[in-house]
Amino acid sequence: MKSNEKKTGIGDILMKLGPLLVLALLFIIFTITLPGRFLQVPNLMNILKQTSVNCLIASGMLLALITAGIDLSVGYNAILATCLIGVMMQSGITNPFLLIICAILVSTFCGFMNGTLLTRLDLPHPFVSTLGMKFVLWGLALLITHSQTIGFANKGIDAVLWIGKATIFPIGFPVCFILVVIFYILFHIFLNHTPLGRQIYCVGGNPEAARMSGIRSKDVLTIVYTISGFMCGVSGIVLAGRLNTANTASAGTFDTDAIAACIIGGASFRGGKGTIWGCMIGAMLIATIRNGLNLFSAGNDIQYIVIGLVIIGAVTIDVFRGKMEANARKMANAKK
């Protein structure tokens, strides 16, 4: 019995570290195949910079996925926040605190609306409400910017841009990634050490059992989507500094990138599982692939194909792992 326990322990750890091992492997491959280019401090800092926005958006997405939901509105919610900063700036508001607070408030409210539509109108699946919200926010962003691109450079809001742009220490460590680390530590504590955090997992694992245990499942869901909206607001602020412009076209693949990061990191569409660190590794994996392929001068075409295959691979491994576990359980029961 004891040796059996240990065995599953090691297997479990290996499986949990799976994405991390893949990331390490990828680093080794790129280091060897791209000598003197990949494993350089500036390039590594570049990867961190490139992964920050995805990390921030994916953290909110992770909560939605844990509850067996999804938030498709994240990309345009973040862009809306960036556009709002741009529009406010154009109308002469340059107070950084005011800009930041407004961006976060609007995005958080959009997230709250996602949750409210889902839980109070009893829409069948958040796919519907957040898909609708995606287009609404897209339209709103176009509406307030009059479909124009707004440039941020030298307009007196450098304090806001600093978050997404600045680097510190001699090695040029990006401030936005420090922000990611801070939020991820907070999410780690939230998900593992607060009642509400654990309730999110429980609602995702079995909403009926959670309800029958007195957990207000609807409120939990509303909070989840509100947090997702909040993180979009934060991402929007980082985006302003990263892109130097507010442009609705740049929302691109934010939503699918975030989903991919979570899924690669071990979250499941069936809900009930996923960790914030897995999510970070997923996001890093995507950024590293992009970065490495860029250094190979591979275009978007190849990058999309590789990332697509990685997602399919990650999910396949996950399903395979589930089957292995089920088999192991059957064997154990048969022995009894």
């Binding site: 607060t194 009642p195 654990r198 079995n206 009926e208 245990s213 007195g214 207000r216 009930g272």
Partner: protein, 501 residues
Amino acid sequence: MADYVVELKNVTKRFPGVIAMHDMHIQIRPGEIHGLIGENGAGKSTLIKVLTGVHIPEEGEIFVDGQKVSFSNPVHAREAGIACVYQELNIVPMLPVVDNVFMGRKVTKSSGLLDYPRMHKEAHEALTLLGHPEVDTHIECGKLGMGLQQMVEIAKAVSVKAKLLIMDEPTSSLGEQEVKQLMLTVRKLKAEGIAILFVSHKLEELFELCDRVTVMRDGEHILTEDMSNMTNDKLIQAMVGRSLENQFPKEFGTRGECMLEVKNLNELGVLKNVSFKAYGGEILAFAGLVGAGRTETMRALFGADKIDSGEIYIQGKKVKNGSPGQAIRNGIAFLTEDRKGQGLVLSESIKMNLILANMKKFTRRFLLDHGKIAENSQDMIGTLRIKTPSADEITAQLSGGNQQKVVIGKWINCDAQIYIFDEPTRGIDVGAKVEVYNVMNKLVKEGKCVIMVSSELPEVLGMADRVIVMREGEIMGELERDSDQFNQEDIMRAAWGGRIA
């Protein structure tokens, strides 16, 4: 032609730890309506599943038309001419009647496309045979009433040229008029030479319809008789006639104050004027057939379902239980009958499930107190004797009995005053059952109020201080442990629609 259309000889079906059916035999004559009756858990469903190829028995033989057969899957049974209409209809409400009748079968033209004109014609013929030529085969099934939906289901069964049609409690969801229609249809099928195995909880229906009847109990064959030789009492006695073994470690508490009073609980079509009192220091059992409204009563007073009217008093104080959370705060714990669906988050650990209903107790300054949680789970694993390698084990990995103990632990952590146990020993082994009874004993001795919903009469008689019998959403009667009627026959009579003498 063989004497029997279907015959079972010495069939035994085992599940891990349980013998679901033992040395069962049954013979069904061509063109007869054969009743099948037994208590909840007597093995009727197992018998049906063996006949339809869902379960494969370990021992015994099955004959169809005198030929020995062995079904390895449901398709075999269907091809051999055994069809079944289940209690829950397998209808796709969005699809037209014709597609439902031909579900799993197809009639194609030479081109390989579906031959809809012929399918409509055959579906219409099947429904005409059942006495319902008026059903338009183009209409969506969901738009038909329950009775007609069932006819579509029967048409589906009949159109595969069934020799034996099994009907599992076909009248349970039908109105009075629809039941009459169904009986006409069943007689029509009999006249066509199709044998019917009619499973029902309603004695009067069996007397009206059946030629012969078989009684099952504890997975065994008790008797098969011509219906004309039977009486109500004889049937009931055959169903329950078993002595209570010493498997119930009943201990007595002292009846304390009234902990819970329910007045005129009403839920349209589900509950009718349900009123009762439950006291501290006693086990109040709710007996009755499956679907009698016992679980619904508990769900209503727990705030899980909305009620139309009614009042709930806890320790004399009127309360409103609008949600499970509110009910829990008012001191009610509810161990649901569906352990996996409503009791546990299977993907979470034992530790987490134990604190699920009362996280506040394990929170300090907004953060979960993992030390306290670990301590609590070790305590629970010890006192409830949960067999597990560690408190971090995912509950999906536990056996049924151990899962149930985790749910019990969850409710003990709520420090409730009123404990509702809905079918607490369903699907768990004998040893674990005794441990569950001991938990109830302990609660009662602490002066807590325990309400137990159980479909197993021996359990009710073994453990209850008082019994309330329900039928069709109404309370039929109430019995004290020391009264003369505190026996299986009288409780069954009330559950089956009779009056307590």
